[in-house]
Each structure stands twice: as C-alpha cells, then as structure tokens.
Symmetry: C2
Subunit: 241 residues, 2 copies
DNA sequence: GTCTATACATAGATAGAC
DNA sequence: GTCTATCTATGTATAGAC
C-alpha cells in the first residue's frame, strides 16, 4: 500500500517503517504549509514557496540547536547563523522567541495527531489495534525524533496553554492505549484483572524510551520495526488470556 | 531489619519503602559530610556542623530551582534568595556555577551507587535479585526524586567528564539488570531466547518513568511498593520458564 | 565569613539603511 | 524583505567594607 490521496487527505501506511517513511513525507509538507496559514497574522512575510521553505528551515534549525543546549540557551545570533537568515529577517517570521516556540509545537502536535488517529481506524481485533498503535507511535517518533525529544525536554519550561496542551497530549496517548486494552478485556481478547492504568503508563514509558535514548538504540542497530514488535510482545504476553 | 552500623558503614533495608526510608537517612547525611571532605580544596569555608548544613541547603536549593527552570536559567540571585546566603557567601562554597554542578552530581551518584550495589548482595535466586534490584532503584529514586529528575534532565548540557560519568551510570544500571537476567538463564531460572539487552533497556525505561512522571503516579496514589511489584511482575512474566 | 556594590559579557528585540 | 548597528535588561563573578 502506497501513500494515496483520499478525500483530499493522505493516509499513512503502517506495514513497516520504510513504507511509512515514504507515505509520511507529503503529509509533513502539507502540515508546514497549513502552519503558515494558521499563523499568517504573526508572520510579516507573505506566503510563497520561498518563505514556506524558510519557515521550515527556521523550525528545524531551532529544534536542532535547542536539543544541544536547550531552547532558553539558544540565542537569536545562533539561530540566525544556522538558518542562514539575519536576526532582523527572523523577526519577520515570528514576533518573539515565545511565539516561535508555539509554532514549533503546533508543527509537531499536528503531525502526531494525524498519524495516531489514523492508526486506530483500520484494525479489527484489539490485538491488531494495540500492535498498530505501537507501530504508529514508534514510526512517527522515529521520523520526528528531534521534535519528540525537543518537546519532551522543554515541556517543563512551558507556561500556560502551551504546557497544558503538551500534558494533554501525553495523557491522551496513554488513555488511547488504556482504551484499547479495556476494549480487549470487554470482548474477551485480553484477560481479566489487569491494572489497565498502570500498564498503559508503562507501555508509554517504553514508547518514549525509543526517542529519549535514540543514540543507544541506534548504536545497537535496533530497527523501529524490531523495537515495536518487542514492545508489543512484552505487553501482549502480560495481558493475553 | 533496621538500619544498623556494620564495619563503620550503614546497610540499607529493602523490605518495604517505609523501612528503607528510615534506614537511608543516616547514609545520606554521611554522604554530604564526605562530599565536603572530598571538595575541601574548592570550599573556602572551613568545615563545621554549620557549614556542612549550609552546603546541604545550597545543593537542595539549586536542585529545586533547576527543576523548575533549568540549571542554566537559575540565577545566582535566586539561589542566594532560596538558600538564604548572599551571592558573595555562595562563592565561598564553590568557585563557579560549573563546580557547583559537579558537587551536586557527586552527591547523587555516591548515594545511588551505595544503594544499588548493596541490593545485589543478600539475594540467593535470580528472581529475588531482580526483584530486589528493582525495589532498590524505585526506593532510592523516590527518596532522591528531585536529584534523579535533575540529573536526567540536565545531562544533555553536561560536558566532558561530567557527561561521561552520567552516561556510564546509566549504562551500568542497565548492564546490572542484564547480568541478573543472563545469570538466571544460565542457571535455568529464566527461559532461553530472551533478547537480554532489549529487555534490560525496557526495564530501565520503566524504572525511569517512576521519577520522570512523579506527578502522575503521585496523583493516582500509586505507592513505590506497588510500582516496584508491578514492574517486576511484567518483566518476570516475560522471562520466566 | 558574610555582606553590598559593581565590572563586564551576552541576551532579546528594534530602528533605519538599502 | 533583509541587512547591520544598537538599546536595554540580565547574567556570572569579584572587590572591598564590616
């Protein structure tokens, strides 16, 4: 199954990581373009292929620098150097460093929402649903590993709405896993007596370790497909009848 | 078993979290005192009950502030206010902000080493060893939750030796778990065909979630004993014969 | 041993030339 | 639309009084 346009929206392919990676590229470009539209009242430069490209470069440069030294410690001088735009030009794409953060978070959140919600649609059994959801999470966090790491590490500095939205996202992922397991119990696919909250929480910890310790898994040559399967097996082994 | 003095060194009690908490208090005081001695060439104030107490207050204040806004963003003015010592006085306890970081890391590392190494001594079977190790880790990370969180979140900003030591500590914990499992396989206590590296890695992710998501488990009323048992059960269920 | 006042560097953001 | 030069605030660290 290749990425195909359906009802004016792309669908993601979860067969294996390579097919996923191909199917997601168009979706991500689409998301940056929409990001530009959603923030047109903040961006002084008018939309063009060039300026959308610039915004993308700014976002990725900001994430890369922040992952080394933290967002607070990233100076505009450095962002200017890495993104190849002057400080003055940068401020034409966002009004303040705080607003740039919002744009970065919107970019990641939209992408993740899209993939995770689609992962739940096409499975029939709870076993499949769980496996697909785990795969979807590992795969999108592999493609967007820099953003996932960024968001995880910077959340504690966020304030107000931005903080709440990130925590909401965290808890949503967890409750989606919990729902899959509770549905499975209800339909006699999984055993009784499971502490569903705790298992969902631990499942999420496994998913997060993938992008938090990227260097480790990369060094050991573990593939996204292997890691997803192993996580699924450990969990399934514990909850199966 | 209460904390008792043996060969001039305390031993830790892993029966349950409450007994552990009592047995660890003296050990931690001991460690701060030794920390003072080990850094006497950096500390201009001469050792006294008062100055050791001040050092302890500085360390805990620095960790508390950093956990809210990050170590880099913590100003000396703020550390001065929270620790109730003037900026000038602070610099009598450490020569620079960088050196203070080393002192904080030494404090945590010594404590963790002490507890984890002792946890391995008094068990006979691999099953017990695994359960004891998990308990030890959850218990010490509960007592020192602020330091664990601090160390985890700040590691990426560390440089040189400090960075290497922290990563070494990470990998040591993981390889201790791996060793326990591999020993269990060798003595036919656990089944064949386990990917020991991956399981050890996932086990560690579970242990870390306890202090990384402290607010969540606290809000849900999960006790350290419960969490330790659940982690052990999930793992044991997967590796048992 | 601890204090206050200050030196010096670097941050985010803006003004005005082109 | 993008540049360079500069304003103002805040950071770490130190000097010298007590």
């Amino acid at each position: 199954m290749k990425a195909e346009k359906l009802d004016n929206t792309y669908i993601v392919d979860l067969q294996n990581y390579n097919t996923f990676k191909k199917s997601i590229r168009f979706i991500l470009d689409d998301i940056v373009s929409r990001l530009y539209d959603d923030n047109r009242q903040l961006i002084r430069v008018k939309k063009s292929p060039q300026s959308v490209e610039n915004l993308k470069r700014i976002i990725h440069a900001a994430i890369a620098i922040s992952n080394k030294k933290g967002y607070a410690a990233m100076s505009m001088r450095e962002l200017s150097a890495v993104s190849s735009l002057s400080i003055g030009a940068l401020y034409a794409y966002f009004p303040s460093k705080d607003e740039l953060l919002h744009i970065i978070q919107q970019y990641g959140r939209s992408s993740v929402e899209k993939v995770l919600s689609e992962s739940l649609i096409y499975s029939s059994t709870s076993k499949d649903k769980l496996h697909n959801f785990i795969r979807a999470h590992i795969f999108i966090s592999e493609v967007l590993k820099d953003w996932f790491y960024f968001s995880y590490m910077e959340t504690r500095y966020f304030t107000g709405t931005e903080y709440n939205k990130t925590i909401e996202g965290e808890l949503l992922t967890e409750s989606l896993i919990k729902d899959i397991i509770e549905n499975g119990i209800e339909y006699n696919e999984f055993r009784q007596g499971i502490q569903t909250s705790l298992i969902a929480s631990i499942a999420k910890a496994m998913l997060q370790d993938w992008y938090l310790k990227r260097w480790k898994y990369s060094k050991r040559g573990v593939t996204p497909d292997e890691y997803a399967t192993e996580c699924f097996q450990i969990l399934y082994n514990y909850i199966k009848i």
